[in-house]
C-alpha cells in the first residue's frame, strides 16, 4: 500500500479529523462529502451528515453527484425540504458546514458569484451563493477546503457571496449574523489556517510537511498571521489512506484530482 499521498488526500484527511463524533455537518459534493465519509469511517461513526437539498443521515453507498440526488437519502433518517435544512441550521442545530469558492479574503469572506468589477457586466459569472451564504451565516463553524494561490487568497474578493468575518473584529455580529458563528478553519494544500481571536484575520495553525512559511506568503495576496507557535500537520495514516482510497473514493473521482 502506497503511503505517500497527494495534496487532495492530505486536505481530505485533515478536514475529516476536524469532524468530531456526534457532530452534525452539512456537506456539498466532492471534497466535503469525502471528508465527512472518511470521518464517519474513522473516528466519528456517529457523525450526522446532512445535505442542503433535504437529505439527512443517509448510509452513503457512494459519493453523490448532486447534493439532491438519491444517494443523499439512501437509507437516510429523514428526507425533507431545502427550507427545513436551512431552518435547522438557523435554529442552531448544525455544527459544521464545508465551503469553497473562487476567492477568499483574510476574514474568510468567500466569492462564488462573479469575477470583475462591474456586477452588471461580470467578466466571469459563477453559480452564486447556492446554499453557501445560508450555511456560513447559520452553522456554528465554517470550514473551507481549497487549493491556495495568490488569485484565490485575494486581498479583496470581487463579491462577498458568503460571509466570513466580514470586516473583521465584531463586524459579523453587528451585521446581524448569529453570535459565535463564523469561519473556523481553512485547509489548503499548504497548511491549515484559523482566525485570530480578536481581529478575526487569518492565521497559520499548521504547516503541511515539506511546506514553508515562504509558501504560505507567496500564495496569498494578503498577510497571513504567523504566530510564534504553529504545528506541522500530521500526515495521513496508512489506515486513513486505505479507507479513503478503497471505501470513500474507490474510483478516484476526487482524490484523482491530486
Amino acid at each position: 500500500m502506497e503511503t505517500t499521498y497527494n495534496p487532495m488526500e492530505l486536505m481530505i484527511t485533515v478536514a475529516a479529523r476536524n469532524l468530531e463524533d456526534g457532530a452534525m455537518v452539512v456537506v456539498g459534493t466532492g471534497v466535503p462529502v469525502a471528508a465527512a465519509m472518511l470521518a464517519q469511517m474513522t473516528q466519528s461513526p456517529n457523525l450526522t451528515i446532512m445535505f442542503e437539498a433535504g437529505g439527512i443521515a443517509p448510509l452513503l453507498p457512494t459519493m453523490p453527484i448532486s447534493v439532491g440526488d438519491s444517494r443523499t437519502t439512501h437509507k437516510g433518517l429523514k428526507a425533507t425540504s431545502m427550507a427545513e435544512i436551512m431552518e435547522l441550521c438557523q435554529a442552531g442545530v448544525v455544527d459544521y458546514c464545508f465551503l469553497g469558492g473562487a476567492q477568499i479574503d483574510k476574514y474568510g469572506n468567500l466569492n462564488s458569484t462573479m469575477i470583475g468589477d462591474d456586477y452588471n457586466k461580470p467578466k466571469t459569472r459563477f453559480p452564486g451563493s447556492g446554499g453557501a451564504n445560508d450555511l456560513a451565516s447559520l452553522c456554528w463553524r465554517t470550514m473551507v477546503v481549497t487549493p491556495q494561490n495568490q488569485k484565490r487568497f485575494a486581498n479583496k474578493v470581487d463579491f462577498i457571496t458568503t460571509p466570513g468575518f466580514l470586516e473583521g473584529g465584531t463586524s459579523r455580529v453587528e451585521a446581524g449574523l448569529p453570535a459565535n458563528t463564523g469561519p473556523y478553519k481553512v485547509i489548503t494544500d499548504i497548511g491549515v489556517y484559523g482566525y485570530h481571536e480578536e481581529s478575526k484575520a487569518m492565521m497559520l495553525l499548521s504547516l503541511h510537511p515539506g511546506k514553508t512559511l515562504e509558501d504560505v506568503k507567496a500564495n496569498a495576496e494578503f498577510d497571513i498571521i504567523i504566530p510564534e507557535n504553529y504545528e506541522t500537520t500530521v500526515e495521513p495514516s496508512a489506515e486513513e489512506l486505505r479507507i479513503l482510497r478503497e471505501k470513500v473514493d474507490p474510483s478516484g473521482v476526487i482524490i484523482g484530482r491530486g
Binding site: G28, M82, G131, I160
Partner: protein, 327 residues
C-alpha cells in the same frame, strides 16, 4: 438598537410580494376537483405565456420536469423570468432556448460536481439577463412566505454580504428582540412546472424522497403544470392522506410522463444519465455545435418519447433504473 441603519438590497424585485393580490387571484380561481389530464404540448400552450415568471420543481438535475422544459424551448417561449433555485440542467436548457431575460439567482450556471455550463455562462454574461441575487435558503423561504399567504418572512441569512446588496431583501428589526433580520419578499410565480412520482387525474401528488421546495412552489404559483411518472387512482391517494404533498386545487394540468425527469435522477426510479449530461457539456463548448445538438435532441423531436428514443429508449432507461438501485 433603534439608531441602527437598516439596509435595503438594490436588486430588482421582479414580482410583487403583495399577498392580497394572490388572495384575489385564488378567490376567483376555480377549485373544483376535475379531471386535468392533458398533453405536454397543450399544457405549455395554455399555461405558459411569453414574459411569465417561471418556477421549476426539483433540484437542477433531480426530479426536474424535463419534458415540460423541452416544450418551452420547442414553443420558443421568450422573456421569461425565472427562479434560479439550484438550477443546473434546467438552467442549461432554458439558456439553450434563450428563454429568459430576468432571473432571481441562487445557484445558476453551475452543475454541482459536474462542473460549469459554458452556455449558461454565455447567457448570464451576455448582458441580456437582469439578475437579482439570493441564497438557496432565501429563495426557499420566499416561496414559503407565498405558500403561507404572507408578504414576507424574516430570516438570518445574507446579512452583511454583497449577496444581500444585490438582492431585493430589506433589513428589519425584530419587534421583540431588536435584532437585525433580513426580510425576504414573498415570491408568487406566474407558473410552476413540476415533476412528481405519482398523481391522480385531479392533481393530488405524491413525491418520494426530498421535496426540495415543490410543496411551497405549488402553493405559491398562480398556475401549476405537473408531469408524473405514473397516474394513480384517487382511491390510492385517499389510502394515505399523509403522503399527499401537493393537493389538487393547486394544480391546473396533469400529464403522465414516464422518465419525465430524464436525463435527471428520479429518486427511487432511475438515476441520472451522466453520459448524456457529459454530451451536453461537450456540445456547449461551441455555440454552433450546441445549436445542432439542441436541434437534434429537442427541436426536431416531436415529443419527449422521441427524445428518450434518441437516447437509447427502454434499454437505456432500464440501465438507469438499475443504476438507481445500485446494481
Amino acid at each position: 438598537m433603534n439608531d441602527t441603519k437598516l439596509n435595503t438590497g438594490i436588486g430588482e424585485l421582479f414580482m410583487s410580494p403583495n399577498a392580497d393580490e394572490m388572495r384575489g387571484f385564488l378567490r376567483n380561481k376555480k377549485k373544483q376537483m376535475k379531471n386535468k389530464l392533458t398533453t405536454v404540448a397543450e399544457a405549455i400552450d395554455t399555461y405558459v405565456n411569453d414574459g411569465d415568471y417561471l418556477a421549476i420543481g426539483g433540484f437542477g438535475g433531480v426530479r426536474i420536469p424535463t419534458a415540460l422544459i423541452h416544450e418551452i424551448i420547442r414553443k420558443e417561449k421568450k422573456n421569461l423570468g425565472f427562479a434560479g433555485h439550484v438550477s443546473t440542467h434546467d438552467c442549461q436548457l432554458l439558456s439553450a432556448g434563450k428563454s429568459f431575460n430576468r432571473c432571481d439567482a441562487a445557484y445558476i450556471v453551475g452543475l454541482e460536481a459536474r462542473g460549469l455550463s459554458k452556455n449558461s455562462r454565455r447567457m448570464f454574461e451576455s448582458g441580456n439577463v437582469k439578475v437579482t441575487e439570493w441564497s438557496n435558503g432565501a429563495l426557499s423561504w420566499r416561496f414559503k412566505a407565498a405558500a403561507m399567504g404572507l408578504p414576507y418572512l424574516p430570516s438570518r441569512v445574507m446579512l452583511g454580504t454583497d449577496t444581500f446588496k444585490h438582492s431585493a431583501a430589506k433589513e428589519v428589526e425584530c419587534p421583540f428582540t431588536g435584532q437585525k433580520l433580513a426580510a425576504l419578499p414573498a415570491l408568487y410565480p406566474d407558473v410552476a412546472i413540476l415533476h412528481v412520482h405519482r398523481a391522480d387525474v385531479y392533481g393530488n401528488c405524491q413525491i418520494d424522497g426530498i421535496l426540495v421546495a415543490d410543496d411551497d412552489i405549488a402553493k405559491a404559483s398562480k398556475r401549476v403544470i405537473v408531469t408524473t411518472e405514473k397516474i394513480i387512482s384517487n382511491e390510492e391517494i385517499r389510502r394515505e392522506p399523509g403522503k399527499t404533498v401537493i393537493p389538487y386545487w393547486c394544480v391546473d394540468a396533469v400529464i403522465e410522463m414516464p422518465f419525465g425527469s430524464y436525463p435527471g435522477n428520479m429518486p427511487g426510479e432511475y438515476f441520472s444519465d451522466e453520459e448524456h449530461l457529459k454530451d451536453w457539456l461537450v456540445a456547449e463548448k461551441d455555440e454552433m455545435q450546441l445549436e445542432e445538438f439542441v436541434g437534434h435532441h429537442i427541436l426536431s423531436s416531436k415529443d419527449f418519447y422521441e427524445y428518450l428514443e434518441k437516447n437509447g429508449g427502454m434499454n437505456k432507461m432500464k440501465q438507469l433504473m438499475q443504476a438507481e438501485h445500485l446494481y
